[in-house]
Amino acid sequence: MNLSILARASILSSTLTSRTLNRTIPHRPISSSSLSYTPTSPNPKTPLFLRPPIFTATLTDLKKFQTWAQTLASSVGSSFTESDNGPCSEILHRELNWLIQDSVQTPDILSLNSDSKTDAVVKLRAELGDLYLLWKQRIEERRPFQYVVGCEHWRDLVLSVEEGVLIPRPETELMVDLVEGVVKERVGLKRGLWVDLGTGSGAIGIGIGRVLGDEGRVVAVDVSPVAVQVALFNVRRYGLEDKVSVKQGSWFEPLSGLEGQISGLVSNPPYIPSGHISGLQAEVGRHEPILALDGGEDGMSDLLHLCNGAASMLEPGGFFAFETNGEDQCRFLVDHMESVHNNSFCDLKIVPDFAGVQRFVTGFRS
């Protein structure tokens, strides 16, 4: 394994060197530890923006990087969008700004139009050579931006993410609003035990941990050890260790003994039909964990499993919210709940996301 990492890093660094031969970038050999992205690390990586600014570059060299990266981003045009609905140049330019924001201690220095301070030394959170490499990975390998910088801004949180953990999506932000709305009306639920199954980076778990009352608790569950580590890291970063506990296991497994005692159950399980996986946007299909995406033949396997579990785990009056792939899955789920679990659930609702796609199914245990 280690060999393959080294091999990969050396290929990358040699392509980098050949690409940038005419430049005078002072870059040392790239260390495999900081840049390899095989999802095996027992300890989660520190997101770029949290790393200490121990590297330096001159403003001129940094500007050279910026120009080079901008050119690379512009060269994409709309080709990614046309091939698999990937990002266009405009989005990539925005990402580049954010990469600079995260890696340069004083990013404003680039936007100032002062020409005189070109000799100024800028402090960086990664070596300049590594920035070249990261941006190449972003464009040429379509490595997701969030993995490149090691974080995703989600709601008012900045969550650490890395290979092996699903990057939380903006649509899912609404899940927290749904829970917030429910606990406002049913104050009892605010003090209860909540569960986020398949928590990934811990996004939903942390989000609802912050809207529950003082007595409310959250158990965030994931089967992937990498996800568990990353979720723990994020929980700690927001100081929620006493409120959100992270457990490793498959779905309801770590919750045995809690039947009928759970106040709320939320999940964004894998729901993409297996047949669609190969056609996904490269950032998703090639880089994100298939375990978190593939929901079986019709994408419903895990959703149905959750649905059945909800019937036995939720306390009477307990709330659930599931994210789905869209209208068909939502309808299927509601039909299933009404026909198979008749009388188990009530107030079933289909809630659209901000783009108008029927995205969530919510309801209460009777």
């Binding site: 139009n113 709601r155 949180l157 995406l293």
Partner: protein
Amino acid sequence: MESVVHGFFVSPPAAAAAADHKLRSPYLTPKPLLTAYKTLPFPSHSLSFSHSKVLSATPDAGVSTETGVWAMQDFYTLRKEVEATSKRVEEIRASAGLEQLGEEVAKLEKAAATDSFWDDRSSAQQTLMALTDVKDKINLLNEFQTMVDDAETIVNLTEEMESTDTALLEEAATIVKELNKALDKFELSQLLSGPYDKEGAVINITAGAGGTDAQDWADMLLRMYVRWGERQRYKTRVVEKSMGEEAGIKSATIEVEGRYAFGYLSGEKGTHRIVRQSPFNSKGLRQTSFSGVEVMPLLPEDSLNVEIPEEDLQIGFSRAGGSGGQNVNKVETAVRITHIPTGVTVRCTEERSQLANKIKALSRLKAKLMVIAVEQRASEIKQIRGDTVKADWGQQIRNYVFHPYKLVKDVRTGYETTDIVSVMDGELDPFIKAYLRFKYTQSM
């Protein structure tokens, strides 16, 4: 009219906020006079007013410090200046309504003396603040008088004396010079009395008709405003920039943090027109392009206590195509909010999460609505909606001609300069001041 207003900007908190803005006058502390001045607008002109500098700071008042000898000519110049300044002080004191100010103090003091004064703490505090402000203003106006009196005394004394006292004359020259600066600032601060003038500003630049040339022009304007902000020592950030296909930008948003930024910049709202030999035109023909500039106050989150009913908002999130959710990974988290009753729309893309963009967009929408609310005092809402900046022919507020001659001319004030390079480098103060005066005379 009422259906459009929807009661949101006449709600008590908003009215209170507006009142609060009015009450706080721009000068914070009355004494000493000179430190008070440092809080006044135009931070780039730092005032170095101290008597210790008297001997070295006078050459442009007609004093030859090298020889230390005052020619009669210099003395007459000084006397003339003192006379002019004295007249100016008189005018300013008259137009500031010293008498009314005195009455106001009496009224406020009476209110503060009542038994029930502290029953309503917040209104009590406002009254006291208003009192301090009015007193400060009176002190300042009296200080002007004292200064000019001092200068006059020196002049009179010199006329009576046989020989001239150089040090005294230099002191008079310094007083006159600094007093004029102070009067300039006072006048300007009087011009900046709009409810949001004290706030920071958000500038929105949009390329208009003219293709790549216009996008390049928008980029030049962006640089101009950033430079202006830097010159003022304002914290200036380009928070959003949408690049043009070939060159320049399609649009950009600048946040300018600092006192009075909005007051100065609000007159920049409008269409800016460039005439030049376009570098994007292979034939080298003369080309005209336009860019639109919009300016809104940058309001602190908590001051935006405008309540907008949820149902008046239409919130759209641009999530590019497909099935969304797990299927897509794009950092596209743009949020677009439309205020249905007025049709006012804002879009926010610069934040990195959807929620953050929504919060920011909402606060920008509120700021925009507040500007409309202020403008509404003068005109109907229909007109305001029609008042959106159209970056096109015949709408410009200012022309920037690079070719065949060099000239920047403001269409409203008539102010012009041939030094186009400095203007593009952010030297906008003369234009801004001219507009503020123009606006002031229009309102009289």
